[in-house]
């Protein structure tokens, strides 16, 4: 049962991203929202960790958060809007938000 994990904390000041990465299963998805999109910042260990994730793990980022922060999701991540976020929550068997 594939899980969509959702993060919203900055990866620099918080351990949720690294904890989450260790628990991702094959076929799981990861949606970056809020300050978690900073993990896509080029030249960071966090970006590198995301780039090194197995291809089977789908990576998404909330478009409005990317836009607000001047970040680019591609090529590894797919920018999604709210309707697509809803679609993802249907596509994956369950949603695990790291509150």
């Amino acid at each position: 049962m594939a899980t969509l994990h959702v993060l919203s904390h900055s990866p620099f000041s918080d351990s949720r991203l690294s904890s989450c990465l260790r628990l991702l299963g094959p076929g799981d998805g990861l949606l970056l929202s809020g300050d978690a999109v900073y993990a896509l910042q080029p030249g960071t260990a966090q970006r590198q960790a995301l780039d090194l994730m197995p291809a089977g793990i789908a990576l998404f980022a909330l478009a409005e958060d990317l836009s607000a922060r001047g970040l680019d999701a591609s090529p590894r991540a797919q920018a999604v809007d709210y309707p697509e976020f809803v679609e993802l929550s249907c596509r994956f068997a369950k949603v695990n938000s790291w509150l």
């Binding site: 929202s33 309707p83 949603v95």
Partner: protein
């Protein structure tokens, strides 16, 4: 699909606005919201005492309008609300507090409502943190 949406963060947290936009998108996408459940600091979004600055987003107001217009079942956890000073008329009287800050369309109830919603829904989606 049927969604249960739980919110754990206060109105000034970006995740609270995200939760509302997500909730709006679920209905726009033809899905159903079985229940909204507000826990931890999210109870503040149900407070009618909150005053937003004129040039700022009035998230409690938006939540209230959304719940009313869509006739949603919107529950606020009573234990979380009491310890954060969000009381309806009944609780304010019970505890001798000066003012009630929680009114319709919000209902105070227990965690059982969260569990019931999770059982009824196809998807439980939680929002919280920043």
């Amino acid at each position: 699909m049927k969604f249960a949406i739980a919110l754990f963060s206060p109105p000034h947290a970006p995740s609270s606005r995200r939760a509302l936009r997500f909730a709006q998108a679920t209905l726009a996408g033809g899905h159903e919201i079985v229940r909204l459940f507000f826990y931890q600091d999210a109870v503040h979004s149900a407070s009618s005492s909150l005053v937003s600055a004129q040039d700022e987003l009035d998230l409690p107001g938006e939540w209230r309008d959304f719940v009313r217009e869509q006739r949603l079942d919107a529950v606020v956890c009573i234990a979380a609300a009491l310890r954060r000073g969000v009381l309806n008329e009944q609780e304010a009287q019970r505890y001798g507090r000066a003012a009630a800050s929680l009114n319709a369309p919000w209902e105070l109830s227990g965690l059982g409502q969260l569990h019931e919603a999770a059982q009824l829904a196809d998807r439980l989606v939680c929002f919280g943190g920043p």
